[in-house]
């Protein structure tokens, strides 16, 4: 086989995938032929680094797991990103160019993520990539983005301890998500003792560490009375539930993920722990997870994050119906899904501010970008490429939604390397 044949095959495969991506965006497809470069500045001026930008299109990548164990979590992000992109295209695109999507499957496998990231940057010359979910996948692609100078919009709330010119973190880092919630529970419930639980990997461990430091150093008279970790996928929680019954903490602080969540909340309920009496604060259960847990098993628990589907503001009132119209009435929108939705918009705003698709210019222009149309409300990109955002506390209802019962007055500053919490 010659070099040429391979390249042709690769190109046609790419084209097929682009078409698939387009098929998912009927509105965009309809708009495409009508536009030309008359609407935007000349390609030579907005693209000096050889990205996949033509006179009327710009190519971006979506990189999530649509197979494997992580597909459960990442589907929502893909849907949100596609929704945002189709909306942007309908409204005229970016610098007069329609967005074309190349979607790749990370297959829940970290080298595959790295592999596909490289493909998106090197072969497809994507101007931006929206993707990744787990920290492990982000860690795997980060060197690729730095080496080939790409731009990644990462949607998940995560442990912090990272900052890169080539990544915009649209979810909250740990201190943003944790501190306000702990302050709130201490203030309103008078809670003094905390029991920290987590799945055994970096995000829960780092988050619990921050929580412990905050509880011990910043909340007067409060202490941590227990801390336990369970392997991912663990399904037996009766022993730890008994342990908690013995120590009777004021607050159970739970960062359990995946299938373990379902087991934990079901067993908690079956053990006679009434979440309306026992305060439980979690940062890992979004509306998506409740689908599996069952609303009646978690009703009464408090979750602390930046977005809930039930949020009452004008932006969200438009966003939720639009999402359901595109992806079905039954779909639910969790914190990460909303954060994923922000990615394409933030990128569009940055490109327009920079007047260019060039990665360096976007990286430089990102700090200070404001997005007033975010479903969660106003957000702004910080110098450290994370978002200023509000933190909210929701109380789980039996129907799988949260009642938002508290939100911080101001935007919380992202602080990925928090002094005194490490």
């Amino acid at each position: 086989m010659s070099d040429n044949e391979i390249n042709t095959a690769a190109v046609s495969a790419t084209r097929r995938r682009v078409l698939q991506g387009m098929a998912a965006l009927p509105a965009a497809a309809a708009m495409l032929p009508a536009r030309g470069n008359a609407a935007g500045p000349a390609t030579a001026t907005v693209n000096t680094t050889g990205l996949a930008v033509t006179d009327d299109t710009v190519t971006v990548g979506i990189l999530h797991s649509i197979s494997g164990t992580m597909a459960i979590s990442e589907t929502g992000s893909v849907e949100a990103e596609k929704l945002a992109i189709s909306q942007i295209n309908e409204a005229g695109g970016v610098l007069g160019r329609q967005i074309k999507v190349i979607q790749e499957d990370g297959a829940s496998d970290w080298p595959t993520f790295a592999e596909k990231a490289k493909k998106l940057l090197v072969s497809d010359k994507c101007a931006a990539v929206f993707g990744c979910w787990t920290s492990a996948s982000r860690k795997a692609v980060l060197p690729v983005f730095e080496q080939y100078n790409g731009m990644l919009y990462y949607p998940t709330f995560y442990e912090g301890l990272e900052q890169s010119k080539n990544v915009i973190y649209t979810g909250q880092e740990a201190t943003q998500q944790i501190l306000a919630g702990l302050d709130w529970v201490n203030r309103t419930k008078g809670s003094k003792t905390f029991y920290l639980l987590g799945s055994d990997y970096i995000w829960p461990r780092t988050s619990n560490k921050i929580a412990r430091k905050h509880i011990e150093n910043h909340l007067t008279g409060c202490k941590v009375v227990g801390e336990d970790y369970f392997p991912l996928g663990h399904t037996q929680f009766n022993s730890v539930i008994n342990k908690m019954k013995l120590v009777k903490p004021d607050v159970i602080y739970a960062i359990i993920v995946g299938g373990s969540n379902v087991a934990f909340y079901k067993q908690l309920k079956a053990a006679g722990v009434d979440l309306n009496k026992q305060t439980l604060l979690t940062i890992s259960v979004t509306e998506d997870e409740i689908l599996g847990i069952g609303g009646e098993n978690i009703a009464g628990a408090f979750a602390c994050m930046k977005y809930f589907q039930s949020l009452d503001n004008p932006n969200n009132k438009v966003f939720v119906p639009a999402f359901k119209k595109m992806w079905g009435e039954k779909s639910v929108i969790g914190d990460v899904t909303q954060a994923a939705y922000l990615g394409p918009y933030l990128w569009k705003l940055t490109v327009e501010k920079a007047g260019s698709f060039d990665i360096d210019k976007i990286a430089a222009a990102s700090p200070g970008i404001e997005f007033k149309g975010a479903p969660e409300g106003y957000v702004r990109i910080h110098e450290n490429h994370h978002l200023w955002s509000k933190t909210r506390v929701g109380k789980a209802r039996t129907d799988g939604q949260y009642d938002v019962i508290y939100e911080t007055g101001d935007l919380v500053e992202p602080n990925p390397f928090p002094k005194g919490y490490q």
Partner: protein, 379 residues
């Protein structure tokens, strides 16, 4: 090389030309790097041919050794990437970033020797071999074999994964050891470095193939096969069967470890997701698809299955599990000898007919049907 017959030499030559000439000429650096990654599983498959195909010992824990080899290499690379200058923003400069995040303030003792490249090169095969030796001594001396052995190795793989994830301050946890940059000052990330690594990988693989072929063609190789079929007979011919099993298990572990180290170098990180049960079973799949009793089959199997996985996951990710599952069932039920079996049944007789006869053997018919064990009176 008396342990190679004409066909072996031809097969090795074809493999070498394919790996070291045809693929590098046809593929762009990106695809070539992928092939390099697949080939690292070829090392594991090679070990499995000896251990499983020949000796009948099915290890469902090859990921352990692959992972340990990979981790040894990753530890060296990580230390090099964590020079005090590069990590000066940390509260303790000079240690890997994930340790700093986990409040570890000095480099743990077992990390220290990995500052040395020489030590690392020795440790890559040696650490996994030592673990294999311990497992082997405990199991084979007590005559644990077959399914029990498979299940226990699987449990060990599970334990190791939980340990690596749980001790994230020392191991990088579920994220693994990432952001590896240089090997003894040489940047491993650019395309030209990847191409060099690919050739090193391919060359090493050929060397390992020769090694494996040497073992198989020695009397030890025949004893392994004999042991698989008639263990008692071998024992009552005066052999300490356990020692042979331990040897081949350690050898397979060492080969897997080399694969793991090459994987780390080419992919640029190592994580517990290559240690656990699922990757271990997948490695067995590569071997089974290629043919558990054929060295070359196993390597082509590793290449084919991984290539198919990439292709499927680019085009039809939903179908990937269906395809992989069916392929596996098909191979086990219909073609227990995998690709190599198909080759032997349909193509090899043709090759025989085309090759001019060189030496006369007395019972031609019997030998032609089983080239695997054809005797060579070369001396």
């Amino acid at each position: 090389m008396t342990f190679l017959n004409r066909k072996d030499i031809a097969a090795i030559a074809i493999l070498a030309v394919l790996l070291l000439a045809v693929l590098p000429l046809c593929l762009d650096p990106f695809r070539l790097n992928l092939v390099g990654k697949y080939l690292t599983y070829g090392f594991v498959a090679l070990g499995l041919v000896l251990c499983w195909g020949d000796a009948g010992i099915l290890s469902l824990g090859q990921g352990i050794f692959f992972g340990l080899g990979g981790y040894c290499m990753a530890m060296y690379l990580k230390l090099e990437a964590s020079s005090p200058e590069a990590t000066k923003i940390q509260s303790t400069p000079g240690i890997p970033d994930f340790m700093d995040w986990n409040q570890i303030t000095s480099l743990p003792l077992f990390w220290r020797p990995f500052h040395s490249l020489a030590f690392t090169i020795v440790a890559v095969p040696l650490v996994p071999v030592l673990l294999a030796l311990i497992i082997g001594l405990a199991m084979f001396k007590r005559r644990v074999g077959g399914t029990y052995f498979a299940i226990i190795t699987q449990a060990v793989a599970a334990i190791l994964t939980i340990l690596i994830i749980g001790q994230q301050g020392y191991t990088g946890g579920v994220n693994g050891i990432t952001d590896l940059r240089t090997l003894n000052g040489w940047d491993i990330r650019p395309d030209h470095a990847k191409i060099v690594l690919y050739f090193i990988n391919g060359g090493l693989l050929i060397v390992c193939v020769l090694l494996a072929q040497f073992v198989r063609r020695s009397k030890l190789g025949r004893i392994l096969v004999a042991m698989r079929d008639k263990e008692d007979r071998v024992r009552f011919s005066g052999y300490d069967v356990a020692n042979f099993k331990i040897f081949v298990f350690c050898l397979a572990a060492g080969l897997a470890a080399i694969g793991g180290a090459m994987f780390t170098l080419q992919v640029g990180f190592m994580s517990p997701s290559f240690v656990g049960i699922v990757p271990s079973i997948e490695m067995v799949i590569f071997c089974a698809v290629g043919g558990r009793t054929s060295i070359f089959g196993a390597i082509y199997g590793a290449l084919t299955v991984n290539w198919a996985r990439t292709t499927f996951s680019e085009g039809l990710p939903q179908l990937w599990l269906f395809a992989m599952g069916s392929l596996f069932i098909l191979v086990v039920v219909v073609f227990p000898d995998g690709l190599a079996g198909i080759y032997r049944r349909y193509l090899d007789p043709l090759v025989d007919r085309m090759l001019p006869p060189v030496r006369r053997r007395i019972p031609v018919a019997a030998v032609a049907e089983t080239p695997q064990v054809s005797p060579t009176f070369a001396e």
